[in-house]
């Protein structure tokens, strides 16, 4: 197995269960028995770090480092430094993160849903082809362009998952969702329409003058 096996959704799950730090150590680039797995690992973990930072977990809790199997002293240094870093950050939610532990648990549920979700996985999976051979129109993207797209998707997907989590508690109106999530009404409305189009959300009934939206159960 390779670092490329590490599913970023599993990292989110581990933090939700109370992990304080996660260090992934892979081979140097170009020096890996699995050829390109470490590139994939780094791309996915970089993305997860960005998402964690966005959602309120200190991103330094997740690290990707490289050393070769022959470099015991480098490995010891990497592990030692990371351990010190985590000690400095302290337990999850004790001050180094944007929220306290119980709120972080909820946030990590959202993070897991984002990282397990179709959109972000599709885009990160397309990273190598997009940067190297281009999309179906042959357009090759720069790292910068790609990262900008990822940043945008992280924000949007987090909003979408927050809305879905909100609806999991019961049918709600756009206005109520916006208030409970501190999100602009137009934004919530836009996401609700998109979710409705994709069959994730349906109109349940109209309460007064506000339509109430509800989740549509998904088949796996």
């Amino acid at each position: 197995m390779c670092t490329g096996r590490i599913d970023p959704a599993l990292a989110a799950k581990a933090f939700r269960k109370g992990l304080d730090g996660m260090l992934v150590v892979g081979c140097y680039f170009g020096d890996c028995h699995y050829i390109s797995g470490n590139y994939q690992a780094k791309a996915k973990l970089d993305m997860a770090r960005k998402l964690f930072a966005h959602i309120g977990l200190n991103p330094e809790r997740l690290a990707f480092r490289q050393c070769s199997s022959g470099e015991a002293s480098v490995f010891v240094k990497i592990v030692g430094e990371f351990t010190e870093k985590i000690k400095e950050l302290g337990p999850l939610g004790a001050g180094a993160d944007r929220f306290e532990a119980s709120k972080l648990t909820k946030k990590m549920d959202i993070a897991e849903a984002v990282l397990a979700g179709e959109k972000i996985r599709w885009v990160i999976g397309k990273r190598t082809p997009f940067l190297q051979t281009g999309n179906m129109y042959g357009e090759i993207f720069t790292e910068h362009e790609f990262n900008r797209a990822i940043d945008m998707i992280i924000v949007e997907e987090t909003e979408v998952q927050e809305i879905l989590a909100g609806l999991r508690e019961g049918a709600k109106s756009v206005k109520d969702l916006a208030a409970s999530l501190s999100m602009p009404v137009e934004k919530v409305f836009r996401h609700i329409l998109a979710l409705k189009r994709r069959g994730f959300v349906a109109l349940k009934r109209i309460a007064g003058r506000s339509p109430l939206y509800t989740l549509v159960p998904q088949e796996v």
Partner: protein, 561 residues
């Protein structure tokens, strides 16, 4: 994973003392009683050496007597001992993949020799995680696949020809694909081969003839490989020949594409007449030097070991010394001076040749790359650090030792075969020490200067070596592959999008049409189980045997208590 299954899980945990390697630093009794307290654990035993005959027999006995259906051994490293413990399980009738190994020595007792309590506590964590994973293990069966008894060798130089003959003489069919219109490669340009001073033309002629006449060898000259599909044992290659395109089934592939010599355009006023490359000097020596030539200068590391090409081409020093000796033979009384940075004269014979050359009056002048020699008219001016001043060396012929470069299209060849090249474009072996002639991709091997600049003797040795490696699957007739590979666990979820196919480093995934539409298919024998596909699939349809999401999650869960 059916939930009710956990009811009948009976795990046996064997904790090894490894003499005092583990027992000397951890509280073994505490580990034993801790393991007994873990869920599904039906039996715990501590052994002085679990890997000894006695220890193995205890495992086998317990599987039968205690009705164990999972075995965990907490001991040393799976790198050395997992195969042994697995086969012990198999001998006792337990599927060998229902075995899990926990490393409490290399990663615990050896690291925490001064921290008995913390070390013991970490060992408990590790055992708990291993047991949690073991409970979810599934039986697996090794994968078998047949091997087409034919090899393709890309490149008809001395390395490729040697490999071809070695395989053909063992009775396997060999296809040699050579890009140029004749066999021989760079050997055709060489004069004498150091340090034995054997004749290159003689060797070339003999080898080319043997290859061309061999009934088992088919040679395609003026041809190139344009496509390769498949995996070990079942490759299929598209070859573009002057007589049209061919498709050939193969079992193994050897890459022997060689290298090319750097033409030092713009360096030291190179013009190919009076100022030539070391390779061009070889050709001149082959024809015989003009008697008018008296003063010879050679400059080493031309266009090498700089920022653009940081590597040492290895063979230029011995070539220069060899040619200097040959010059002295052909033109007695001539002066030969070699300007060098460091002399790379590895091996006893090269060392002797070097000493011999000094004894025969060949001059060596060290130069500093910060103050490189320069050509002024018919002289080379070089700063001699020992003298502390510049020297002026007139020459009738100046030879520039330029490095061997990887083939311009090595990157494309690499992509074709799904094998890596290094930053200099040379092919990267599976492991520098343990698999020097294998690629990480099974069934593809390499030899000669395609791997790194090699002299003829080394190319021959590597050709024989690669042929030897390649003949292992050919002679077995089938390959058995570790089943810890990717599986399409949820076919219904797969949308056949191909996202994973593009990222698979081994070309082990393909999309095919089924009754349910486009679906991905794992080519078992080609998969190495890296897991990139499982971490990528947005439908979570793929997983890795023995490293499923459930199993990893169980380990994380167990770690966090």
């Amino acid at each position: 994973m059916p939930a009710n299954k956990s009811d009948d899980i009976r795990i046996g945990v064997f904790i090894c003392h490894c003499g005092s390697n583990i027992a000397g630093y951890l509280d073994m009794e505490a580990l034993g009683s801790y393991a007994e307290s873990l869920p599904h654990v039906a039996f715990v035993q501590r052994n002085l050496y679990t890997c000894s005959e006695g220890g193995i027999n205890e495992i086998k006995k317990a599987i039968g007597e205690k009705n164990l259906n999972r075995v965990v051994v907490a001991s040393c490293t799976p790198r050395t001992h997992e195969p042994l413990f697995r086969s012990s399980c198999a001998e006792a009738g337990l599927n060998p993949y229902l075995f899990e190994m926990v490393n409490i020595r290399d990663q615990c007792s050896w690291v925490h020799m001064q921290e008995r309590e913390d070390g013991t506590s970490k060992a408990k964590d590790l055992i708990r995680m291993g047991v949690a994973k073991a409970a979810l293990l599934e039986p697996q069966n090794p994968i078998m696949s047949e091997v087409t008894p034919r090899a393709m060798i890309i490149g008809g130089g001395i390395a490729g020809m040697t490999a071809a003959l070695a395989l053909a003489n063992r009775g396997y069919e060999v296809v040699v694909v050579e890009r140029s219109d004749r066999l021989g490669g760079m050997l055709l340009n060489l004069n004498k081969l150091g340090p034995s001073m054997a004749d290159a033309a003689e060797l070339a002629e003999k080898t080319v003839k043997a290859v061309s006449c061999h009934p088992k060898i088919t040679v395609f000259t003026g041809s190139s490989v344009t496509g390769v599909q498949g995996f070990i044992g079942k490759y299929s290659a598209d070859i573009e020949t002057p007589a049209g395109a061919k498709k050939i089934d193969l079992g193994v592939i050897i890459v022997a594409t060689g290298a090319r010599n750097l033409v030092p355009a713009g360096l030291f006023q190179y013009e190919g007449e009076k100022i030539v490359t070391q390779l061009e000097l070889e050709t001149r020596l082959k024809k015989g030097l003009a008697s008018s030539l008296k003063d010879f200068v050679m400059i080493q590391c031309v266009g090498a070991r700089n920022e653009e090409r940081p590597y040492c081409s290895r063979i230029c020093c011995q070539t220069a010394v060899k040619n200097a000796l040959l010059i002295r033979e052909q033109a007695p009384g001539s002066k030969v001076t070699i300007l060098y940075r460091d002399m790379q004269m590895y091996g006893v014979e090269n060392e002797e040749m070097f000493r011999d050359s000094k004894a025969r009056g060949i001059r060596y002048v060290n130069y500093d790359p910060e103050k490189p020699p320069r050509v002024e008219g018919s002289s080379v001016v070089v700063y001699n650090a020992l003298l502390g001043r510049e020297m002026k060396l007139p020459f009738d012929l100046l030879a520039l030792s330029t490095p061997l470069l990887s083939q311009e299209d090595s990157d494309e060849t690499g992509k074709l075969l799904r094998v890596p090249v290094d930053e200099n474009g040379f092919f990267l072996e599976g492991h520098v020490k343990l698999k020097p002639l294998d690629f990480a991709t099974d069934g593809v091997f390499l030899c000669g200067s395609a791997r790194f600049p090699a002299n003829v003797r080394e190319a021959v040795a590597q050709g024989l070596g690669a042929a030897s490696r390649a003949s292992i699957p050919l002679s077995k007739g089938s390959v058995v592959v570790e089943p810890i590979i990717s599986v399409l666990a949820n076919e219904d979820a797969c949308r056949g999008c191909g996202l994973c196919v593009a990222l698979c480093p081994y070309g082990a995934l393909e999309i095919h049409k089924t009754e349910k539409g486009r679906k991905v298919r794992v080519i078992d024998v080609a998969c190495k189980g890296c897991g990139v596909c499982a971490a990528t699939c947005y439908q979570h349809a793929l997983t890795i045997n023995s490293f499923t999401d459930d199993q990893i999650e169980a380990q994380i869960g167990a770690f966090l208590g």
